[in-house]
Assembly symmetry: C2
Homo-oligomer: 197 residues x 2
């Protein structure tokens, strides 16, 4: 029972921190703000995390855990690999969205993650590639024109890079004005059609 | 004869302005600096351009002219369309390079172009797309798996967007660390292989 409540409090703190960091920035968010929003005592927050940097790390790892659950969910379905690729990459796009905005909150959170939990960016990159690779292995078995799933996964990741910017990317980019979900979906379908031969 | 000398002076002023803008920024560059570097009198610079904004516009249109000459050069060769696509896009990458650096000069010049000559960004985008489209029309004639050259051109442009950032893009981007010329070449070859079927 106690374990259950402990997990709840941890999640409440993480959820509160994420929403405050994104809304008003890491710098302006105090431990008091987080305790208030999470509905726990300030002492409880300190019990879990010694300082704000530790909370940023916890938040970054929470994102990694959500990503992992999502990958496993998509891979375990019985959908066609083409469908899985679309579902996974569009879902990843949705998860990544808060960071593609040029808001102060997103910018500061991205900077804080780069500073305090840089390994989570590598984890995200590796998992992104290996998820695509797993799907392409399946796709190869169903007869798609895939020679080396790991190489093809890298090219697909590279060709969709612009859809996953970190915060702070200038929005005036002439070739990047309308890089929305629809464009990503269109690009993936175009690539899939080429792979279907 | 006078016309010839006039063209020379214009080019000297444009070349001096580009190199100064990129090296020290638009803001710190004075008309005096430009006249000195171009080897012409200050009055001559004012004869051609009423202020720095006008020089920025002239520089932006000079880039558009260079782009146009380059497109025509590539399209007029007797190379295979696949080769033309590589030559054109890698050449465009090289032309775009000064702007992908996070230097003050590149950042300020990009901002000044957005402010004083925004139409040149649209010109660049349209020409980029129509150049790829022309090459794909040729490619279609040689039997490549291209249905609608204009649609295919758009997807190819979109899939390579990340290689043509404006200045100021944060270099810490996890998926963008090593977006070099080699990666662009690899991606284009991968796409071409898919189009060859």
């Amino acid at each position: 029972m106690v374990r259950q409540r402990t997990g709840d409090k941890d999640r409440q703190i993480v959820d509160a921190a994420i929403s405050l960091f994104l809304a008003k920035g890491v710098r302006s968010t105090t431990i008091q703000d987080i305790s208030k929003k999470a509905g726990v005592a300030v002492g409880t927050v300190y019990l879990y995390h010694k300082d704000k940097a530790a909370i940023v790390r916890r938040v970054a790892f929470a994102f990694a855990e959500r990503h992992e659950s999502f990958v496993e969910e998509v891979l375990s379905t019985r959908r066609k690999p083409q469908r899985k690729l679309l579902d996974y990459m569009l879902g990843f796009y949705d998860m990544w969205q808060p960071f593609s905005e040029n808001s102060i909150g997103a910018l500061e959170l991205a900077e804080a993650v780069i500073k305090y939990a840089p390994e989570t960016l590598e984890i995200a990159k590796d998992r992104f590639l290996s998820a695509i690779e797993s799907i392409l292995f399946e796709a190869k078995d169903t007869g798609l024109a895939i020679e080396k799933p790991s190489a093809d996964a890298q090219w697909i990741a590279l060709s969709t890079t612009a859809f996953f910017p970190l915060a702070g990317t200038p929005s005036e980019h002439p070739f990047r004005k309308s890089l929305g979900r629809n464009e990503l979906e269109g690009l993936l379908k175009w690539i899939l059609k080429r792979l279907e031969g």
